[in-house]
């Protein structure tokens, strides 16, 4: 079943992806067919089955609480699309 325009628009807003009005219907159809296809998982009995979160092969590790990296301000900023001195710039967010 195709996802309706309102749902597609809401998801796109959550994902911060701008959509042209002309894209919404086609995306709704494609997403709907993928969602329909994954719904076959409803036929699997998952009673008392724990969710698998990662493979569980690596043991959680503790380490000493000390600085292991840092002092690389210029490296960190080196790919900034726009900056002023040692700052990233963004449009005004506080009136």
């Amino acid at each position: 079943m195709s996802l309706d325009a309102k749902t597609v628009t809401r998801i796109a807003r959550l994902a911060r992806i701008g959509l042209e009005p002309g894209e919404v219907d086609a995306l709704g159809k494609e997403m709907g067919s993928i969602i329909d296809w994954v719904e076959q998982l409803n036929e699997v009995d998952v009673t008392d089955v724990p969710p698998m979160i990662g493979t569980g092969l690596a043991k959680p590790r503790l380490r000493e609480d000390r600085v292991t990296d840092g002092n690389r301000r210029d490296d960190v900023l080196s790919n900034a699309p726009d900056r002023e001195g040692p700052f990233y710039t963004v449009p005004k967010v506080v009136e």
Partner: protein, 495 residues
């Protein structure tokens, strides 16, 4: 210098150590081949010939002293998903079109430590999302293989399509790949080369651009399994900068090559007899069974009952993780920015312009399955089914050592035969996804050609951290198949 294109990675290594060839002439021969053939194949996004020549010269100096590591002077290509210090790394996306990492991924650091010479960064599906290398912002990659009597451009598979094409065409002696649901194994099968997806946690993910973090795993792609074994030994190892890296010793994989399969129990899962699978793939699978049996393996019929749920589970889990991982591309700290009147408008415009269609579709679906009201129905349920898929494998390994299946349900298809329905495209990964979901290692070896002259691969799936048994069993198939065919487009063929 056509002889320069007859080397495998292992034979080139031996010739370099014996000073029969120099690293500079080996690198130059490969750079020339890239110059001649890659305008057409498009397997490289970024070429680094100057760095490569300098590294080859340094390698010769080391070799002249009788020193050097396992890969000193060996020309490799790096999938453009691995961050390389000072060399543009794009993930084949417009949004990272000008990204120059100020650091090196652990996997590429390991290869450099061992003396490898990088020729450049290889094309892929955008953010590794695809099975045909048709979603790259830098254009599709052409498979160097041709169908008999046809000049149709075939896809190299994906997402490591540039890696696969470059190795198959002889432009590099080996390449790095990454595999989230089949992205090393399926392109290896489509291009007649070998590829290994190691156990999750075997190779560090540090500095590898993330798609689905609980699944992403780096691995080698090369002409044969000996070459893959040499590369894997260099790439693998514990890394404290990756919390999912596993601290277990790296064995000598190359030494496992000739162990043989005498007494090995090989499982044949009945669920992989997929409806509609071409008869020649069934036949090739049976041939693989016969080869292993003839070499002394015992064949055991097994069941992996949740196989059919592998793909839908994958597409929920992987896309949910992707939607979260790709949230960082917002046009503020790195990457391409499209300005907007507000911060949200900047995000939306940047992401609309920077991501391609398939990536957008996947982020949107991932966002949907994680959103309030749908999380339990989709994401949590998929994680539970994932537990059942992993249990299938663990149960099977009570009784068998390794599992044999086809790698993909078809050979390479033509670029213009791409299915319009996304779900049809996802079916390419039907045989490779379950091992990814379970986290177990798997490999693909070329095993034959189909009726149209296009390569087909067989997949072996193993136990956690038992890549050695996979390599040994794969080598038996390799030797029995004696796959010495070359693609139509190859560095060693004069045009």
């Amino acid at each position: 210098m056509s002889g320069m294109h007859d080397f495998t990675l292992a034979s080139a290594r031996d010739a370099l150590k014996a000073r029969k060839i120099s690293a500079v002439e080996l690198t130059n021969a490969h750079l020339d081949a890239i110059e001649r053939l890659d305008g057409r194949l498009n397997s490289f996004i970024t070429r680094t010939p100057d760095q490569a020549r300098a590294a080859a010269k340094a390698a010769d100096e080391v070799l002249a002293k009788g020193e050097g590591g396992a890969l000193t002077g060996i020309p490799l290509g790096i999938k453009d998903l691995f961050c390389t210090n000072g060399v543009r790394t794009t993930a084949a996306s417009k949004i990272l079109g000008n990204f120059v990492p100020p650091y090196e991924s652990t996997v590429t650091s390991n290869l450099l430590r061992d003396g490898a010479v990088f020729l450049g960064k290889l094309n892929l599906d955008e953010f590794a999302m695809g099975s045909a290398n048709l979603t790259s912002a830098f254009g599709p990659v052409e498979n160097p293989w041709k169908r008999n009597g046809s000049d149709a451009k075939l896809v190299p598979g994906g997402s490591s399509g540039g890696s696969a094409a470059a190795v198959a065409a002889g432009l590099v002696l080996g390449a790095t790949g990454t595999d989230t649901g089949g992205s090393i194994r399926q392109p290896a099968a489509f291009t007649g080369i070998a590829g290994i997806k190691p156990t999750y946690g075997r190779c560090s993910r540090f500095g590898t651009i993330a798609f689905a973090s609980s699944l992403d795993q780096a691995g080698p792609m090369a002409r044969n399994l000996q070459d893959c074994a040499i590369l894997l030994e260099s790439m693998a190892g514990f890394d404290e900068r990756d919390s999912t890296s596993v601290d277990t010793p790296v064995p000598n994989y190359e030494a496992a090559l000739t162990r043989g399969v005498k007494g090995l129990r090989v499982g044949i899962p009945k669920e992989y007899h997929a409806p509609g699978m071409p008869a020649e793939i069934e036949a090739l699978w049976q041939q693989g069974i016969n080869w292993l049996k003839a070499a002394g393996a015992e064949i055991v019929d097994i069941s992996l009952p949740h196989t059919k749920y592998g793909l839908p589970t994958y597409y929920i889990a992987a896309l949910a993780e992707a939607s979260s991982n790709l949230a960082r591309y917002d046009g503020v700290r790195f990457g391409e920015r499209v300005n907007g009147s507000s911060l949200d408008a900047l995000y939306e415009a940047t992401r609309a312009a920077g991501f391609g269609e398939e990536v957008k579709r996947r982020i949107l679906i991932g966002t949907h399955v994680l959103s309030s009201g749908y999380y339990d129905a989709y994401y949590l349920r998929a994680q539970k089914v994932r537990t059942l898929i992993q249990r299938d494998f663990l149960n099977a390994y009570e009784n068998v050592d390794v599992i044999l299946t086809p790698t993909a349900p078809s050979g390479a298809f033509a670029q213009d035969e791409k299915p319009t329905d996304p779900v049809q495209m996802y079916l390419n990964d039907v045989f490779t996804v379950p091992a990814s979901m379970a986290g177990v290692p798997a490999l693909s070896v070329p095993a034959g050609l189909d009726a149209r002259g296009v390569p087909l691969g067989l997949q072996l799936i193993g136990k956690f951290f038992d890549e050695e048994t996979l390599i040994a069993a794969g080598h038996v198939i390799e030797q029995a198949a004696s796959f010495t065919h070359r693609p139509a487009i190859h560095a060693g063929v004069s045009a």
